[in-house]
Symmetry: C2
DNA sequence: TATCTTTGTGGGAGCGCTCCCATTTTTATA
DNA sequence: TATAAAAATGGGAGCGCTCCCACAAAGATA
C-alpha cells in the first residue's frame, strides 16, 4: 500500500528528481543538459533516477527560461500555387522540412491558411504566437504582409521560392525557374519542333513569370520567333491545361510547354480526346516530375523539381540561423534536371 | 532623441503595460483575458496602451502558468496508407483539422514520421513534448505503442480510423469501410455484373480488411459466390492496381472493385493498354473520390470519402475533450455516398 | 451617518526550468 | 601539512504569466 502510493507519484520536476537522487535541482539540470561539470558518480546516480521515473523536463518551463522553444513554424498560405489539386507539393515540402527538423531536435508548428480565414487575423495569430524560434514561409503571393512584418521584427525566417521584393535581404531556397523552362523548351527546339505553344502558370506568381520568361528566351535562342498566338495564360491547374490545349490546337502547334505537370495532365487528356497523337502530332514537355508523370500515357518528359530537397534546405538554413551558425543572408538555388521520357519523342528521333 | 529612445523600447510584458497604463499587472491580465471585473474606464485605458504598443502576452509564460498551450498535435506515421503517392489524403485531413483549430484558437504541431526515423525515438519525442494539449493520430498501423502509452497516461487523443484494439475506450472518427465497399460492389451486382474481381487494400490495415469484408458480403447478398480466384491482394498503390488487373483479366472478370482510387487509376491504365473497354468489357468501381477521379477516362464511379470532414470532426472532438466539454468516449462514423459516373456503365444501362 | 455589500484593484506565490554566483569538496603543487 | 587551483555542487533570482487572497473604493441599505 505504502509502496504503491510511493511508486504511483510520478516525478513532475527537477526538484523531485533531485530529492530522490540526493542532489540539488541544479545538478539534475546539468545532467540533463550534458554539462561536463558533473562527477561521473553523480551523473550515473541521477540518470538512474531519471530513467526509473521516466522523467523528462518540461519544455514549456525550459522555453520560458531560455527564450527558445525548439519549434519552427511552417506557413502555407492558401495560394493558387498550392491548391489541393496539386496535393503533392505541400506534403512533399513538409516531408523535407520534417526530415531535418526531426534530425536536429525541432518540432513543426503548422500554419495552414484556409480560404475562409481572414488574412489579417491569420497573420496576427502567427505573429503573436511566440512559440516558434523561426519560420519557413512557403510560396507566398506577391504581396505578403507577413514578410514585411518579420523583416521589421528582425525574425528568423526562410522563404521557399524567390521573394518578389527585398530578395537581397531575405533568406530563400528556390530553383532557377527561368532555366527550368529554358531547358524544357530547348529540348523541343532541339527535336526540331517549331510551333511551340505554352500554357503558362499563374502570372501573378514569380514562378509563373519566370517559367514564361524561360520559354521566351529558349525560343529566341533557338532562332524561333515569339508568337503571341501560341500563348495560353493558365494558372497551374488541370483545367487550364485541358482548356488551353483546345485553344492552341487551332493555332496549329506541333508542341507545347506546360508550366507544370498538373496542367500537362489536363493537356494530355484533351489531346487524347481530340485524337491527336503524342508525341507524333504534338509533343508535350512540362515541369515538376510528379509521381503521376510516369502514370500518364505517354510518360511525361518533364524537368524534375526537387521539392523535398527544398524543404530540407529551408529547414537546415532556418535552424542554422536560429542557432547562430550562420548570420549572413542565405540564398540557395537548387539544381534541376530534364527527365526525358516519351512525350516529346526524343527516343524516336534518336533512332532515326 | 529621448522620444525615440522611448518609442523604441517595445513593451515586453504585462508589467510594462501596467506601468504605462498606471495600473497593476493583474489588471492588465484581467483586461487581456476579458475578465468582467474591470471597470469600463480602466479597460479602455489599458486596451489603448496594449494597442499602441502592439503587445500580446507571451504564450509560453501563459502555458507554464495554466498548464495549457492551445496546441494540438497531429501524428502522421509513415504508414503504407499514407504514402506520398496518395498525397491527397494527408493534406486534406490536415486541412480539415486546421479549419477547426484556427476557428477555436489552437495551433497545430505536426509529427511526420520519416521512413528513416526510428519508431521508438519518434514516439519518445512526442511523448516527452508537453507542448501539446492533445493529439490526433492519423491511420496508425495495427500495433502502435504510442496509443498504449497515451491510453495509460490518460492523455487526450483522437484517432482517425477505427483502432484495432481498445476501440471501446478510444475516441475515433471513421467511415464505415464495410458499408462503403458493400455499396460499391452492390452497384456492380445491380448492374448485372457477375464476375466481380477485387484488388484489395493493405490487409494489415483495418480499412483494407473492412473493405474486403464489405466486398464479400455484397457478393453473398447479391447471390454470387465468393471466388478466391478473383481476389488480388494489393496495398492501395497505383502499381498494385496495374499489376492486379493483369492478373485478374486472365480470370475473365467483367468488373472490378478496387480498394481506392489510386489503385483504380493503375487498373484503368492497364485496362487501356490491354485494349479492354471500360465499362463495356470491365466495369470499375472504387473508393475515395479523389479530385483525379474525374480526370481519368472514363470518369470513375467511386464512393466519396469525406476526408476533410474527418479532420474537422477529429479536431472538434479533441478540443471538446481538452476543454472538458465532453467526457465520455466519442465515436463518430461519417456518412459516405456512392458517386455514380461512367466507369460502371450505370447510365448506359438506364438508357437501355 | 454607520454598516453591509458589491465591485474593482494590487501584489504575493507559484508554474518548472536556466543562469549565475557563492560555497564546498577534491585534486594538484609547493 | 599548508596552500593554491580546479572541479563539483547548491541555491537565489528571474523568465512572464495566472491564480488567489487581501484590501480599497463605490454603492446599497438601514
Amino acid at each position: 500500500m505504502t509502496q504503491m502510493g510511493n511508486s504511483q507519484k510520478r516525478s513532475r520536476n527537477l526538484e523531485d528528481i533531485a530529492a530522490r537522487a540526493g542532489v540539488s535541482r541544479s545538478t539534475v539540470s546539468r545532467v540533463i543538459n550534458h554539462d561536463p561539470k558533473v562527477s561521473d558518480k553523480t551523473r550515473e546516480k541521477v540518470w538512474a533516477v531519471i530513467e526509473q521515473e521516466g522523467f523528462s523536463p518540461n519544455p514549456v518551463a525550459r522555453a520560458l527560461a531560455t527564450n527558445r522553444t525548439n519549434v519552427i513554424g511552417v506557413v502555407i498560405p492558401h495560394s493558387p500555387h498550392i491548391t489541393f489539386e496539386d496535393a503533392y507539393y505541400f506534403p512533399t515540402l513538409l516531408s523535407g522540412i520534417s526530415k531535418i527538423a526531426n534530425k536536429r531536435g525541432y518540432s513543426i508548428l503548422l500554419w495552414l491558411r484556409q480560404s475562409e480565414d481572414d488574412e489579417r487575423n491569420f497573420h496576427r495569430r502567427i505573429v503573436s504566437n511566440r512559440l516558434m524560434d523561426g519560420l519557413i514561409i512557403a510560396s507566398p503571393p506577391q504581396t505578403y504582409s507577413l514578410i514585411d512584418h518579420f523583416l521589421e521584427a528582425n525574425a528568423n525566417f526562410v522563404m521557399v521560392e524567390r521573394p518578389s521584393h527585398h530578395a537581397d535581404i531575405i533568406n530563400y531556397v528556390t530553383i532557377d525557374n527561368i532555366e527550368v523552362a529554358y531547358a524544357a523548351v530547348s529540348h523541343l527546339v532541339n527535336l526540331g519542333r517549331c510551333r511551340i505553344g505554352t500554357i503558362t502558370g499563374n502570372l501573378t506568381i514569380t514562378d509563373g513569370v519566370d517559367r514564361f520568361e524561360g520559354y521566351k528566351q529558349a525560343l529566341l535562342d533557338g532562332g524561333l520567333t515569339f508568337d503571341n498566338e501560341l500563348i495560353y495564360e493558365g494558372n497551374f491547374s488541370y483545367q487550364c491545361g485541358y482548356d488551353g490545349i483546345k485553344a492552341l490546337l487551332d493555332k496549329n502547334i506541333d508542341s507545347v510547354f506546360t508550366a507544370n505537370d498538373i496542367s500537362a495532365r489536363g493537356a494530355l487528356h484533351a489531346l487524347h480526346e481530340a485524337g491527336v497523337r503524342v508525341p507524333e502530332d504534338v509533343a508535350v514537355v512540362s515541369v515538376d516530375d510528379l509521381p503521376t508523370a510516369v502514370q500518364v500515357t505517354p510518360p511525361l518528359t518533364t524537368v524534375h523539381h526537387p521539392i523535398e530537397k527544398k524543404g530540407e534546405h529551408a529547414a537546415s538554413i532556418l535552424i542554422d540561423l536560429i542557432e547562430g551558425k550562420v548570420s549572413k543572408t542565405q540564398h540557395v538555388v537548387l539544381p534541376t534536371e530534364l527527365i526525358v521520357r516519351e512525350s516529346c519523342g526524343a527516343y524516336l528521333n534518336v533512332e532515326n
